[in-house]
Each structure stands twice: as C-alpha cells, then as structure tokens.
Symmetry: D2
Subunit: 488 residues, 4 copies
C-alpha cells in the first residue's frame, strides 16, 4: 500500500494543541545538529515555529524561523552557522504571543554575567502582572511571550550566580513550566513544582540531553536516564550534573492529556509507555461501553491505539475504515463558493467498499468543538454504515487549560454546553460514550483518582486547577500585550 | 494520539514508484478546481510535478510546476487563471524524461484543427524509434517524454477528425498507456489493448470525469460509473459520451502491483476494493507461512492492511510496533559525517516499550533493494524483539517493469540476485516468506494464475512481458534523448 | 556627489524601445561568462528577459529568465552550468510574443543534423503567413515569436548542410533581422539585405565574437574587426571565418534611430561614434533653432549628449537642471488615490535652486506620446523657470516601426496627430523645435537625405518603409497567435 | 540616448558612505506612504536597509527590511499594513552594528508612558561606555546599534514627560546626531549641539515633516520651512510645533562632506543649494589648478557638477568621456579566475572614439583608497588619451570620520600615507591636484576657514574633531558588542 492511509496531518483545527517541545544538549560537537534532530522528533508538539541557540565557547549563535523544523534547519549551511558543544532548541504552537518572529524561542538575553538563552514549555499564570511591574522599572520587552518575563527577572536580579538569579526569578512566577536554559558554560533544566509538563534527562556518550519526550532521544540513539522531577533544577556543566531542589515538595500533577493525545505513541513520559497506555484506555472503554458491532474503526491517526485496544478487548475486528491524506498542508485550495457544495473531502475518505452495510464503532481520542466528528460520522454513514457508535478515549472536555495547551474558550467546548445524549444527537451517532474519569486513571495504573490529591492534572475534565490563575483572577487581559501591532 | 504514527511519507527510495495520476472533466464550471482536487487525491501516484490544462471556449490555459499538487494549485489565483468547463490534469513521478519543467504534462500542441492537450500514464516501448523518425521529418521535440511522440503523430497526421488522427497515432505506438486528452470541444480517454494501467469513468451531475482511481471521484463527491475497457476510447463532448473500440480485443492484463501497493487503499480499481484485496493477501500469507509469535507489526504504512489480515487469520495481536514520521520531507538534514554514526532515525522509530522481549512478525508489501528492510529489522531487534519474522505480501520482485513503473535495473533487485534463504540472512531475520504467485491470484478472487493467459500483468514477478519491448530489443538507448542538457 | 543624478532608468513608458541585443562567441573557454558580460553591456537593448545557450562539444546547455542579465546570470553556479567554447545570448524587450518564458531566446531546436540555436534582433514581416503554412504541415510551435518560424523552416528543409538550410529559410522570410545562430560546431551571424539592425564582428585572441554594438566588445577587452555587411552571412568554425553573400546587393538602410537614441553613447555602430553623432545633432539643432536663454538643460539621461552639443554651439551654459533617480524600479508604490494628488516625483526632480528665474532650453531626443514631456515642463516651470524652450534631437515621430522597435500605434504618436505649434501648446512650452530631416543627415556626415535611395531607414519620420509589410498588408492579425493563453 | 550613460550605482566600495536618511511626518492620512516616498528620495543616504513605524491612534505598526526602499515598501499591501497619521522612517548604510534585521531602525520601545520609536543619523561617541552601564543595571539590549542606548536611557529615566526623559537621555550621550522620534501623540526632531548632520522642517498642508534633505520634501510636493537648528528639539503634536533649546549654544559645525558628496545635488541643506556649491568648487579648482587640455571629463556620476564648473571656468569643453552602467547590482558575476585577466569593465567604459588623442582633465569628488581612480586612469589611457590630469573637488582625505560616516581606517586612506606627488604616481596621472581647504570654504561662501572656530566639521581633512571621542579614547573596542554572533 502506498500513499495516504494512516497519515496524521500537522494541524487539525478541532484538536487541542500542545504548545512546545524542548531539547538541550551539552558536551558534543555538532550540538545544533543533534538539537535539530531532537526538535524534529518533537515536531508534533509545535509546528508553527522553531529556534536553536548554540554556544561555541566564544559566541552564541541563533537561528529561528516559522514552519517545520526540517524546513528551518534541514540544510547543512544553517546548521554549520550554529557551531558549538552546547545548544538548546524549541518548537512551538503559539500559546501566549502571536506567531511572529520576535516571539520565537529560545529567547536570548545579554546580561552582565554573559549570555542567557531560555526556552519554555507551559504557561505562566502571572506573566501579565509581572510584565507591568518590569515595564514600570524600565525593562524593554521585545516579545509578547510570557517567557520574556523570566529573562528580565534574571537580568535585573542582583544575585551573583546565574543559578541564584534564575531561582529567584522562578520564585516570582506562577504557572506550569518546563524550561531549558543555557549560559556561556551551563545547560539548565527545570520543571515547576507540580511537574505539569514533561522534561527528561538522557545521555549520549559523555553528553547530557534534556528533552520533552523519549522519542527525541531515540532519534539520535541516546539513552534515557530519568525524568527531571517536579520542582527540580538540573545544572549541567564541565563538572557534570548537579541537582538542585529549590522548591518545597508537593504532589506531582502531570498533565494526563499528554498520555491521551499529546505525546508521541512511541515515547515514554513520566515512566509510562504512551502507546500501551492508550491501548489500555481503549480496553477500559470496551469494558465500560460495549456495543455489538461488525467493525472497530479508528479516526486516524489519533484514535488508532485506543481502537486497537478496544477491538482486542471486544473481539470485534479492527479495520481501517477511514483513510487520511497526509499531503494536506494548511493552505490547500479554499473551496470557492462554487465548489463548496461538493463537500470536498480533502483530509479524510471513507473506505466505502469496506464500510457498506456494517455496524461501526468509531474510536477517537477527544471531542473539542465536535465539528470534525460530525463530518466524519456523515461520511461514514454516506459510505453505507448501518450503525455508527462513537467511543472517546478521554472524559468529556469541559474546561479550558491555562497551563500551556491551546484550548478554545469554554463556550466553544461541546461538552461544556451539552450532556452526552445531546452531544450524540448533534454529532449524529447511534450511541456515544466517553471513558470515565476512574477508568482513565485505571488505564494509567492507578486504582482510581485520588480526589483529595489527584495523581494528575486533569483540570480540562474536572475544572480543578492546581496552580492559581493569577492574571485571570486579577482581571488582567491579554488582548493588548504590546502597543506594536503584530503583522497580519 | 497526536503526531507521527502511521504516516506515509511521499517518497521512499526503496519502493517501486507509480509514475502518474490522470484526471479529466467535461461539463462543469470550475473544471480546473475539480481537477486540482482530483490530482490531490491521486497524489500518491506522482509527487514530482503536476499540471493542468483547461479550455474556456476560447482559449486553453495551462499551468504546471514541480512539487505537490497543493503547493502548485492550492491557491485561488492559480485556479482562477485556469478558467473553463473542460480540463485535464496529470501528476507524475518521472519515468522517461527527467523532472524538468518542459517534461511536465499535460503536453499541449497547436495543430491545424486547434489545440490538443494530452496526459499519459504508462510507458511507450517504441517511443525512441518513433522519435527518430519524426525528427528526420522535421518535427521539433520540446520534451524528452515518450508522450510527445503522440502529439507529433497527431499533428502530422493527415486525417480529418481528431479522433481519427489520434487513433492513427495510437496504431503506431506500442506500450502500456492510459491517456486523457482534450481538444477545443472534446475530452478523450483511452486505454491500451491490454489495459495495463487503470482509467475509469465517473459522473458528477451532468459532468463526465475520467480518473485513475475512485478516490479521485470520492474527493469531489462524484459517482463511479465504470472502468474504461482495455482498448476502448471514449469521446465526451456536447453530444454526450461515445465509445469507440479501435483495437482488436485481447486478454486484459491489468497491473497486479496496483492491487498490492500502488493504488490507494480506499480506491476500487478494475472492480476490486483495494483494502479488502490487501487484507486477503495478508490472510493468505498467514495460511501459507504461519509462525508462532507474540505480535504482528506492519511496516508503516504500506504493510498495514496485509498485517491486519495476517493478524486476524493467525490470531496473533496486531500492534503498532513501528512509528513513522510524516514530517520528513526529502531535504532534511543530510547527516554530516560527524553525526552519521548516530544511525539517525528520521523516518521510523521502534515502539521500544512494546517490542521488548517479543517475537515479532513484520509485514511489508515488497522487498526491492532490501536496504530499508535491513535497517528496520535492526531497529526492531535493537528495541528488544527476541525473534523477527518477515512476511511479504507480494512474490519476490525479480524483474524490472517497462510499462510505466520506476524500477531499478535487475542487478539492483535483491530477489533477482538471491534466493529466499540468502535474502533472510542479508536482511537479518529469523524467517522470511513471500506470498506465492497462486496465493496472490487467490486473494484477487481467481482460482489460480492462468499460465497460458494470465489474468494480470505480473511481469515483475514472472518476467513474462505481454507487450513487446521494441526500443530495448532494437538496442535503442535512452541515455541521450536530447542534445540539450537537463538542468541539474 | 552621490546618488541619483544623471541616472537612466531601465524603463520609460514614453520612449521607443529597442527590442534586442545579440552576442555570440566561438573559440574560448568560458564562452558563457563572456556572453553574460556582453549581454550585460547590451542591457539597454532589452531589459525584460535574457537567455544563453552554450555547447561544450557534447551537449547544449541553456538558461533563460525574466529580468536583468545580472539577476539571471550574475552568479557563478548559473554560469558553471553553461560550459563550453561556443555560446550565443540574447536579451529582449518583447516585440512579437508576450514576455513569457517560452518566448525567451535563444530558441533551441533538435534537428536531424543536431542542435540549432537561434537569437534574433528585428522583426519578420511575413511571420504569421509562414506560421500558418507550417502548422498546416504539422509543425508544433512552442512560442509565439516570429523567430520560431526560422527554426521550423530549418528543421523541415531538405538541404544537406545547415548553412544551406538556413539560407533557404531566410529566402522565405521578409523583414529586418540580425541573427546569431549556432550548431554543434558553428557560430553563424547574418543581417538582412538592408542591414536595418546592427551586427558586428570582434576578436579576442583566437576567439571570434558577434555583437550588436562595440560596447559589448569593450567590456571583455575584445577588438572591433568590422561590421557584418547587409545581406552577409558569416560562418565561424574550427576552420575560421567564412563569409557568404547569399542575397543580391541592395542599398544599406541602417536604422537612424539607433544613432539618435537606441545605441549606447560609448558604442560605435556602422562606423560612427554614437556620442559624437548625438553631439553633432545638438549642434545642428542650435544652428537651426537658436533661442536666447540662460541655461541648456538636458532631459536626463537621453538628452545629455545633444544638450552638450547644443550648449557648446550656442554658447549658453550647460547645466544639470533636472535630476533623475536611478533607484526607481518598475514596481514602486503605485500612488494610491489618496496620495496621487501629490504629483509624486519618483523619477525626476527639478534642481529648484538653479532653475529659479532662468530662461531654459530643454533638450530631449524625441517626443512619442508627449506625456512625460508635459510633466517635465510643468516641473521645470514649478521650479521657477521664466521661459521653457524645448529642442528635440530627432524629427517628429509620425509613423510606427515594423522592423523591431516597439512603437505605439500611429494614433498615439503625438506628432502624427498634431503640428509643431499644437504640440508646443499641448506640452506647455514657449517654443518647440525638432531637428530637420536634412539636419539629421548632415549630423550623420551626409550632405543631405538622398530621397531616391535614402542612406538610412527613417520610416518612423517619413513613412517610407523599405521592406514590404506582408502580414499587415495581407490582413494578418497578431492578436491570437496561440490558442494557449499567456499567463498574466 | 538610452541606457547606461551617467548612471550612479548604489554602491561603490571606494567611496565614503553616508549612513542614514531620516523622515518623519505628523498630521496626514497615509503617513507611511509619504514616509516611504521620502525615504525613497533619501535612498542615496543608505541602501542597506530601511524601516518605518507608524501610529494609528491605537497601535504602532512597524515594518523593516534589507534592501532598497522600493523593494521593501513598494507594494500597496505593505503600506496598508502601516496605517496612521504619524510615521517616522529611516534608511541606513550600517555604521555601528552589522546590517542585521535586529539593527534596522526605527527602534521601538514599550515604555511605561507608551510606545517610543526612534531613528538616528550620526554616531554616538560614548555609546559603548553607556551600553555597559545599562547592561549592569539589567537592561536587555536587542541590537548592537548605538541608538538603542537612547531607548534604554529613556525607558529607565524617572522623569514624567517624554520630552524630559528624552532630553535627560541626550544629556548623557556624546556624539553627532540628528534624530526623529515618535510617541503615541508626538513627532520629535532633534540635532546635536554642533549640528553635524542635517535635519530640516517642511510642511504639506496641515502636516509637519522632518527630513534630512529638501529632496524628500520635493518628492511629495511639500514646502521647505527651515533647518532645525543645532541643539534644537522640536516637538510636534495636536497643538502644533514647539521649539525647545535644551543645550547651550555653540558654534555650528555642519559636515562639509555633505556639500561635497553626500547630499543629493538637487537638495538644499543648511541654506545652500548643493549643485551650485559643487559647481563653485569646480570653478575654484580650475582657478587653483589650471592645466591646458582638450576635454574636461567627469568621473560619473559624482564628479559631474564640479566638472561642469571646472569646464566653464577654464573654457575647456565638458564632455562625457566615461560612461557608467547603472545596471550593475552588487552581485554580478564575480569574475572567475579564468576571465579575470580580461579586466572586465562592468561599471565604467571609456568613450573610446572621443578620448583618442586627447589631453584629458578628469574631475572626481574624492580619493579614498585610490583603487577605483587607478583603474579609471588606466581605462582612459587605454582609450588613447595622451595626457590625464586629475582634479579632486575635496582636500586630501587624511582622517577617519567618527560622526556617522563609514570611512576606512586611517591606514587605508591613500592621502594619510602619501603626499600628492606620490599619489599622482600611484594613480598614474600626469598631474594631480586637490582643492585647497580655503578654496573649499570660499566655494561655500566663506572668506576662508576660521581656524579658531571653523564654520564646518572638516575633521576628515584636518583631523580636528569637535566632539570628544569618548569610547575610542577610553579604549572601548567595538569588536564584540554582542555575545550573539551576527548571521553571515
């Protein structure tokens, strides 16, 4: 089989979007080439822009651009212009700050002590409040990212060492963050005290690596060492690795949606294999919400592992009933009015010959606005399916995320506005079921959700936000961060 | 699940490549927009270049470019510049003629009777012989394609009607071809007498469509009518559709590799659903070459349907043990010498957590040179698999194709140089098995291969070429078709 | 002095435009680099597009593009891709055939005898008639240029040698032409029997050169040998240069406008230094049309040499009263409605401090539509000039050119619609005078115009066309040369 | 006459380079379109990059790019994206700070009081010292320009009004500067106390304009009002124009090289018409250094006005003996080794037919390294000139400029290393003369140079620097302003 079958596409408007991937490496020639490869493996975490900063012992070198890692860093000349044994990189799907060049990370600052580059996955919940204070003191912001707050806090901080300046800065910020940073001689990684976003440590010969997921180690043949702990800061330099624990210890609250959808299926994060976890969710779902049917069909590509689990558990054959084209970029022919009535199927096509006359269980990972789900169900029915039952491998998404995931406002979330029966009717299915919250925790290997101290951040399903939403509660608006208009 | 999981990539150097996709439409406004969408659905048949010619009642309009359909035709302005009710389009992976702009089809000719545009899927086996004759007469060739022979034969032919000129021209050519052509008022489709390459007829309201596969009908919501018959020419104009049968009837010899690999799994070609056929090959393979194992793992993406069939028949679980990144373009970082030793895994990654300690059946569609297979087996073993058994859903590829498929010279085909045991050793598997030729025919719904009159063209497996290889046997060389060097 | 002062700009909509520059060289390494330099020196003869074809002993190599020579050929890689000891080049401002890539010369043809490349300066007056005949025979045209008629005539001609085929082809065409052509082993140059357009022979060590003007020899340090004679064909190959005289001898009718405006002032053409000739026209004009004044001001840049001659003869100071910006490309800000009222002076600015209170003689080379003249006079008066007298170094342009110069239709030529007094009023000057036709001939060194056998082609001033206008008189229209629309 | 005759080219490696042009406008719709036109008229002051910032009453809008103004701002869409009634613009040939995007002005800062944009012509002589102090306090620099020092001084300053903050900042800087700045509601212009660089005030209906030269007023039809005075700050807002005089009054020291070379000949600066001044220098030179000759030939284009003055005074005919091609971009064919021996004449060509056998006076504006002069003299002799006498319309350039002009180090200045006789020998002329310093002042309308209080800054000729060179004397090095390497 050739061509478009199970391909994912870079961008689906009706999915939640991970915002960032991080990579850093200390102690190898070609640090930038390694970083570019790592970012490529993390491409699913951000397809809007990417950047790398390296240090060659004398100077920092930076390059950043909009688009995919391969387009930005995929030529020898670009990599050659980023020499050094130390580099950090970042790719992003914008959360705060539009996707303009001045917002692409890593950000770089020239401080009294030397250069300081920083890349950030997550979201600071008091960034606007801090930004105002800093501007009042005369700090000039160049970007509209929350991350730049950190560089100014570091630059204006009076402490002697970079580590102390950095820790002091982090004491002032609230939010979810995993950060990689670098100075003239150090690679630094840190996670917020709840450990909401992933960050892990790898090794390749004598070189240390920090990365968001294990797939970024696999691509360069590096070995996984351990996860960075919640609230831990690691400092890597000539002397090796030092672990600092500047924050008081709290319950880890790793983002459960990383397990459901964001992370790559071949990654392990926070000690769990992602593919296996998703397959177990599918099996739980089959137990919780069985329905007689002829075929289990994944909504490609994100529904595939759960569908395999569902099919195996329910003993209904797993079949590719929907084909997805991977050749779809973002800019393909906007159907003109005259052809819009055709209901052009650019992204998906039903495997008509196979669905005709069948009872189908459709498995997907989530329903956000429900628009894509509705179209897919129509398509499957149009191909002759006699029954369509939808099974979702996450609980209903009822709340927005403020910790670094791009989610629509609550008003746009289908599950925030409707109960399951209403949703089933809107989407047009014969039945609809979501995994239960406890079923989800069971698939993660927990007995159940600990309601007093939940083992994960699941705010998007439960509305329980572990970290205060300072700006939001203080009424800070993000609508005009800068007086400088962003280019269209 | 997000990101790179089961994605195909546009280009794999160790696969055979289909050379062309065809689309034509008569009788709708926005004929070019429909054609662009149709070519997009046929993108897997050719990713190097694409072109469209339209006719608006007064003038022909043409645009062609290198790259993907979405990049070439994905903006409104380009489509708007191609007005008309009649259009044909072509995408190509070059077979004869380098991928230079002057070779991109459709070719257009200004003849005494008006304009004539032509697009061709297949390969003419006496093109060089005819080219020399035409040059001797003073015909000036602009491209190095075999297709241009047809336009000159039509232009210099003395017959009165375009149909007669075209038929006369086809009487002189040998080879495998499906062709769509257009004049000021007609859309014409024709298949060679053996029907080696596909071409089918669809309808969308009053408009007639010609396309290589049904997926090009689905994308615009058109209805499949029937396949164009081997040796049939259909002429579509204001008066409707006329079927001509200018050739004497022979046994159909449809290319069996279309069923195994080239066609999209959601297409039907020559009356057969492609996905179901591949799934049946997998099931046959499980019966012919069973092996005890823990997992059936497809080599993504082309091995997936056969792996599903194999898993279902053998009762071994189907699992995604290998993840393929769809973000890989052709031009990503050429690993420099310094990082080449890393064995960079740009395209595939093993699902390490799932393969460790398992006996694995790997299912793929074919082995060409064997280079990719070797790397994948190493990767699967590196992830901890205890046994690796490879099952291939085609017979050994022992011969080159001269009918429009890009194949390496025989000397580069692994199966032409080695028996199965040697191949197993070279690739590094514990066992290796190919579907038998009769098993393949059974999966196609035949009792067995009719050795006197084979139901398909299977020359790449058997060396039995149904159409004479005139140029090759006459010693014509294709190395310097033109005195004009092709740009690097 | 820095910046925009006396700069010419590539394009002025109110001037006549030369259509082409030619260059060819045989017998040096780096033939293409020499050709690119020669075309650069001839850039004033055509700024729309340029092309080069070279031959390396095995293959022809071609490259062509839209824009300036420096942009198309100004990088090493492009030149390196055009190896060989033999090359021809062409730059063009389109006359027949829109400026589309398929029309850019040299045209290349693959004939029975080998490759044949051709580049043409001039215009064939029976091209449409011949084109129709050739299409009827089955020749497929790729361009809409008149030049392609020649390649088809050569390709379909039965003669044995290329020279004979080429001469036979030229016997069939009518028009004004200088042509450079090349085959696998020959460089060929030819001028029409009247010698309307220039072509000359140079030498650089052992290499022979053909070029439109001497400035193309100067740039590479080559020596001028002689003009190619009207009706002469020179064939340069390993054996040296052979001169053929296939046409019967007629009176030479070199284009007099080459002397007035087209040729570069540092060139010599047809044995005359261009700068000196223009200076002499200015002096004649001062004698014919003296007026008391304070300053002689050229309309930059084309009026400068004549203004110097006028000033010297009249003893009125020559001063730069108008400054022209050379930074103006064609695409600068189209003044929006809102700023159009500003009368934006993108191209010219009056030297206000110097013109105020002065009586000014403005010297220009010609008046075509008169639009630019009117604006310039307004600007000069706006700067405070008390009197403005315009002196033109050509007779009134009353007729269109059909021999290779882009001229408006007669109806748009100001001098075809109005007498001198009316023109003066329309342009807004206190007095207006043109050089007389005999004054012009005197400045060329002739006693007067020989009315029976004029020494030059002066059809644009006199309406006496030496070469029959076959297509025009036969009613051939050029509006739809091709059924294929040209891209916008 | 068409084509390359007296054209200037954007860039000559052997000239001094002005560094910047300034434009600002308050009180008109389409402020950005006006600014783009103004910058276009000032293109000769900086061809490397340009930027515009506008304010629309709500937001600032900015765009900046590398290249010519017409390329960066010459399309409607770019201008439309810069709405507002207030705009400032800048073009630059880099002095401090490489030509990288982050260094392109205007710089924009978000301060507590709102936005602040600034564009600067000149050079601060204590910028490095201040930069270090600011970094120590935690200010993060984004560029390597001296101008950014000003924005940080303004941002961190405690005063209440922008004017007071700005004046306070200027009290701390040393150097030569003309500045245009803007806030949410004000356009501000200021010149340093010595008035080294130009800045003038114009009006267009109700709108006020600030610009470097009058040619930027002419292009949009605006009226010249007056020069901004040395040490004056003008603040333009809804209430009209306010003039502040925050500096104590000193002797004006306007840059005399603006009159000799930098300013456009059709401009008036500091109350003097530039063309007339240059013509007077030529006349002085003829009186000071007469020589019998046949022709006065300017080195185009910068030598033309002085040559006209020289010719008129000496009664030797002014003739165009050298033609300069304006089609030369910076990137034309780097002559390969194989053709370098040709002595390719890309930029200039001698008017061979006119120079042969003549005694020539060559007039140029300055000699920097002498490399171009040497080549031109060789070319003129090669064309047959019997004598070549060079006359220079400035005194010998013996010292570098630190006030905003790009000059080579002293060691590279020919006149710093050699006396006039040696220079004549090196350049290969029969005689060489420079205008005397008093002759130059006479041409400016002064009786002589006031040696106690010179009327102009003439440090490049005399070594008398009116403003302290703080960084230089303090040993500050500019070699590594930033730890971030600049892209190649």
């Amino acid at each position: 089989m050739n061509g478009p079958m199970l391909a994912t596409i870079p961008f689906d408007d009706d999915k939640l979007h991970e915002e960032c991937g991080l990579f850093g490496i200390y102690g190898t020639e070609d640090a930038s080439a390694h970083t570019a490869l790592g970012l490529h493996a993390l491409q699913h975490r951000g397809q809007e822009a990417a950047g790398i900063v390296s240090f060659d012992g004398q100077q920092f070198h930076g390059h950043r651009g909009q688009g995919l890692v391969g387009d930005i860093f995929g030529n020898e000349a670009t990599i050659t212009a980023l020499p050094g044994f130390l580099a950090i990189g970042h790719n992003r799907y914008s959360t705060t700050g539009g996707t303009i060049v001045r917002n692409i990370q890593p950000l770089f600052a020239e401080c009294e002590f030397g250069g300081f580059a920083v890349a950030h996955n997550g979201n600071l919940t008091n960034a606007l409040t801090l930004r105002k204070q800093l501007i009042r003191r005369g700090s000039l912001f160049q970007s509209t990212t929350d991350t730049e707050v950190i560089t100014h806090l570091v630059a204006t901080n009076g402490n002697r060492t970079v580590e102390d300046r950095f820790i002091d800065a982090l004491y002032q910020v609230e939010g979810a963050y995993s950060i990689v940073a670098m100075t003239n001689d150090k690679l630094i990684g840190v996670r917020d005290p709840f450990g909401v976003r992933p960050l892990l440590l790898g090794q390749l010969g004598p070189a240390f690596i920090l990365a968001s997921e294990t797939c970024a180690l696999d691509i360069i043949g590096a070995t996984f060492v351990r996860d960075i702990l919640p609230g831990e800061m690691v400092v890597i330099d000539r002397a090796g690795l030092t672990s600092l624990k500047p924050f008081k210890i709290t319950q880890s609250r790793f983002c459960i949606f990383e397990m459901i959808y964001f992370a790559r299926p071949d990654s392990s994060v926070e000690g769990r294999g992602v593919y296996a976890a998703r397959r177990r969710i599918g099996a739980e779902l089959a137990r919780e919400a069985h329905v007689p049917a002829d075929l289990v069909v994944p909504v490609p590509d994100s529904g595939v592992p759960a569908a395999i689990g569902y099919a195996a558990e329910s003993n209904i054959p797993f079949e590719l009933g929907i084909i997805r084209s991977h050749y779809v970029g973002r800019t393909f022919i906007e159907p003109t009015d005259r052809i819009r009535h055709l209901g052009v199927k650019l992204k998906h096509n039903a495997n008509r010959a196979y669905l005709d006359g069948k009872r189908v269980v459709l498995v997907d990972d989530s329903i956000v606005r429900g628009t894509t789900s509705k179209r897919i169900v129509e398509m499957v029915r149009g191909a002759g399916a006699t029954e369509v039952h939808m099974r979702i491998s996450s609980p209903p998404t009822t709340n927005s995320c403020f910790y670094g995931i791009d989610t629509p406002e609550r008003g746009e979330l289908l599950a925030a506005q409707h109960n399951v029966a209403e949703m089933a009717a809107l989407i047009g299915v014969d039945s609809l079921a979501f995994i239960s919250i406890d079923g989800l925790y069971r698939a993660m290997g927990e007995a159940r959700r600990n309601t007093l101290k939940p083992q994960f951040c699941d705010a998007c399903f439960t509305g329980e936000y572990p970290i205060p939403l300072v700006d939001r509660e203080g009424g800070e608006r993000s609508t005009q961060l800068s007086l400088l208009a962003e280019p269209a």
